[in-house]
């Protein structure tokens, strides 16, 4: 019996218990993970070429995936508006410049101020944010899993969209940043529609000064236009694609290694259960079913957990 087999499989020479699932081995996994983290911390220097992982988030993909979800729900798709994309890009840049992760800037700047500054006149607008995701699909799935963000994605009062994807250092963490802005251009028809379809709006639609109201949660804003509505010419321009290259992605590496260890433990414990039953070995120790259950659950959680966060 080779040492490798003895390490992974139960046998009378290892007291019918694989070394890989014994306490010393489990503690060695812990030490290995800690050392791996230290290694990643040391070598995770910008410009280092130890490992290469690239992240692709395309604004086109975000828009297409958003429209796919809308169409599947019987809601008309939104069209890309260059001015909204500019507003989204300005918001993303402002977050990086002022180092904040929120809908409202520390200096009090609101999401709709970026839209106004881009020259887009709107009747209703909303904003979704996401950071540190690996791909566009994960971003849209995360938004769809959140009721408030889903509400924005599937809001039939929105007709146009602008998306910006950028990279940078936010709160000391390098990563990607996605800003999605929805709006409808200001004209008489959308204003009436907004009053009918957004019952939570508390602002007076006839007020002379434009006012803003948060609908539902902080990720959606509406603005009633008291001034004479202006038509906004939508410019449908080309979309940009941002490729973020990280020399090391510690999160993905830790996640992968953790998943391998958890899955290995699940497999070895399952083998142990079969071995014990087949050989009719009586054991007072080793609660295999409890461990199997816990690490199966843990492996599932690691698989589905996402590094990104939404706002």
């Amino acid at each position: 019996m080779t040492p490798i087999v003895k390490f992974f499989l139960p046998h009378h020479k290892n007291n019918h218990r694989a070394h890989a699932v014994k306490a010393p081995a489990i503690f060695s996994y812990v030490i290995f993970l800690i050392l791996l983290q230290v290694f990643l911390k040391i070598f995770s220097i910008p410009g280092s070429n130890v490992l290469g992982i690239s992240t692709n988030i395309s604004t086109t993909d975000i828009i297409n995936l958003t429209n796919e979800r809308r169409v599947s729900q019987g809601i008309r798709p939104v069209k890309e508006n260059q001015l909204l994309s500019q507003a989204a890009a300005a918001k993303a840049q402002d977050m990086l410049n002022q180092n904040y992760w929120a809908h409202f800037a520390p200096d009090g700047k609101t999401p709709w101020q970026f839209i106004n500054q881009s020259g887009y006149s709107y009747s209703v607008a909303g904003e979704n944010l996401a950071r540190d995701f690996d791909n566009a699909s994960s971003v849209v799935v995360a938004w769809m899993n959140s009721p408030s963000h889903k509400q924005n994605l599937l809001d039939s009062s929105f007709t146009e969209i602008g998306v910006a994807v950028t990279e940078g250092n936010l709160n000391g963490v390098n990563g990607s940043l996605v800003v999605q802005m929805f709006a409808s251009p200001a004209n008489p028809a959308p204003i009436q529609q907004v009053e009918e379809t957004t019952p939570t709006s508390t602002a007076n639609s006839l007020s002379a000064t434009p006012s803003a109201t948060i609908v539902g949660t902080t990720n959606s804003v509406t603005d009633d236009i008291g001034n004479a509505p202006e038509s906004t010419e939508a410019v449908y321009g080309e979309t940009s694609q941002v490729q973020v290259n990280y020399p090391l992605n510690p999160y993905l590496i830790i996640k992968t290694v953790s998943l391998i260890i958890s899955t290995l433990l699940v497999l070895l414990i399952a083998i142990d259960i079969v071995y014990v039953r087949r050989n009719r070995i009586n054991r007072a120790l080793h609660h295999n079913f409890a461990h199997l259950f816990v690490f199966s659950l843990f492996a599932i959680a690691i698989t589905f957990i996402s590094s990104g966060s939404i706002l």
Binding site: Y251, I254, A284, L285, H287
Partner: protein
């Protein structure tokens, strides 16, 4: 402790364990905040360790290996959760 009591103990703790496990699994799957995910994993691991301690006192007082095994696995869960939280 009689076998009947051990069975009851297993049942009650098992049910509680199952409920916490389900909550843990479902919350970890969603977009809860990173610190929340870590704290849930921490609570779950601590609970799992104490579950092992209870088993030790209920069944295998002469074999502390059980507690060591639970301790090791709980520690592994905490370390993985913390490193994933740290590396974001």
């Amino acid at each position: 402790m009689s076998n009947k009591k051990i069975t009851h103990l297993h049942f009650h703790w098992g049910m509680l364990f199952f409920a916490i496990g389900l909550a843990f699994g479902s919350i970890m799957s969603f977009q809860s905040s990173q610190i929340t995910q870590f704290l849930i994993a921490l609570i779950f691991a601590i609970f799992y360790f104490f579950w092992g301690v209870i088993h030790y006192f209920a069944v295998t007082k002469k074999h502390p290996h059980t507690v060591v095994e639970y301790l090791g696995l709980s520690f592994l869960i905490i370390v993985i959760a913390y490193l994933m939280f740290l590396s974001r």
